[in-house]
């Protein structure tokens, strides 16, 4: 792999990452009037994050069992409205400990 090739690919990646972010912001400066579209846009973040998280979270670690344990920990901590950092660290440690236990037994 040549570094110049990688560098050009990275520039292209940066461009196609920036374009979807900037287009709507640059073009739509007016307020949207339709209450349907307003409601739709309001619900977008929840739908996006739900779809990004499940089911991919179950294949995000070394194995399914540790991923399920980590997910349950994340759900429990989030349900108790802990901060993002606490939830993330809690899930990582749960996965790590589960994987160690699985190796021992």
């Amino acid at each position: 792999m040549k570094l110049e090739r990688a560098f050009l690919a990275i520039i292209l990646m940066a461009l196609v990452t920036y374009i979807p972010r900037v287009l709507p912001i640059a073009i739509f400066q007016k307020e949207i009037k339709s209450s349907y579209i307003k409601s739709f846009l309001h619900y977008v973040p929840f739908a996006v994050l739900g779809s990004l998280t499940f089911p991919d979270i179950f294949t995000s670690t070394g194995n399914l069992v540790s991923a399920i344990c980590g997910t349950l920990m994340a759900l429990w901590l989030s349900f108790r409205e802990k901060s993002l950092v606490v939830v993330a660290i809690g899930a990582i440690l749960t996965v790590y400990i589960t994987e160690i236990i699985l190796i021992i037994f």
């Binding site: 990646m13 990452t17 912001i25 209450s35 929840f46 939830v87 990582i92 790590y96």
Partner: protein, 247 residues
């Protein structure tokens, strides 16, 4: 209405962004680890994180670079995964300070990630340039620092630990959506709906080969589309009240 730069708003943004920054460190650490162990120099891994500032897109793109894929495949895959940002940007524009000039909007656009977008969305009232800039600062710093550390220490970390960190990003997503979903039935239903659609697309053979980016776009459009039809948000003149209403 608003002056150019408001220090208090910037600091408020910093405060809201710092949990994202911390959460980004393990995820970008994993990215740095992957990039460096694949043969990219440390500076290049950091350069990717700084210019792309995205999770799924840059993971996929870098994987393709490392496997020697062509420009078109790399660019197209990254683009498809990132199309979802159009929905987020569009959603955020509605909340921007109307007086914000194009140049500043273009700077803020750079920082729209899943997490920054989510935290900005949950914020009440109008989103000002100073607040958004503050919100973006920490995460950019966390994302690049984590990448740097991961690329630097890539060889000396126990394997089990790097595999455990794969869950960090998803745990953060759960931490963002569960509290509002717990308190709002429409939000809960929309989350369940979009997850169900994602699972159908992923596991029904008919849709085999659809990229994860497209999967998310389709699930979002259907989920939020049905949600907006079933649970329209009441019209409210004052933008600042709109958020709290259905919470």
């Amino acid at each position: 209405m608003k002056k150019n730069f408001n220090k208090n708003e910037y600091l408020h943004g910093l405060k809201r962004g710092y949990p994202i920054a911390l959460g980004y460190i393990p995820v970008s650490f994993t990215f740095g680890l992957m990039a460096a162990s694949g043969g990219l120099p440390v500076w290049m891994a950091v350069f990717i994180s700084f210019t792309n500032l995205t999770s799924a897109g840059q993971f996929a793109g870098t994987n393709l670079i490392l496997s020697g894929a062509g420009y078109l495949e790399i660019t197209l895959t990254t683009f498809i995964i990132n199309i979802r940002y159009m929905l987020m940007s569009l959603s955020l524009t509605q909340r921007f300070d109307k007086a914000m000039p194009l140049s500043k909007r273009m700077i803020i656009a750079y920082g729209i990630t899943d997490e920054i977008f989510s935290v900005a969305s949950m914020e009440r009232g109008i989103l000002t340039y100073s607040f958004l800039l503050g919100l973006i600062t920490g995460p950019v710093f966390g994302w690049t620092t984590g990448t740097f550390l991961g690329a630097l220490i890539c060889t000396s970390l126990p394997e089990g630990f790097s595999s455990a960190m794969g869950i960090a990003l998803y745990a953060m997503f759960i931490a963002i959506i569960l509290p509002p979903a717990k308190n709002s039935k429409p939000v809960m239903i929309i989350v369940i709906l979009s997850v169900a659609i994602t699972c159908i697309i992923k596991y029904v053979p008919l849709f085999n080969g659809m990229s994860s980016g497209f999967r998310t776009i389709i699930a979002t459009i259907i989920g939020a589309g049905i949600g907006a039809y079933l649970f329209p948000i009441k019209e409210e003149k004052d933008n600042s009240k709109q958020k709290g209403e259905e919470a």
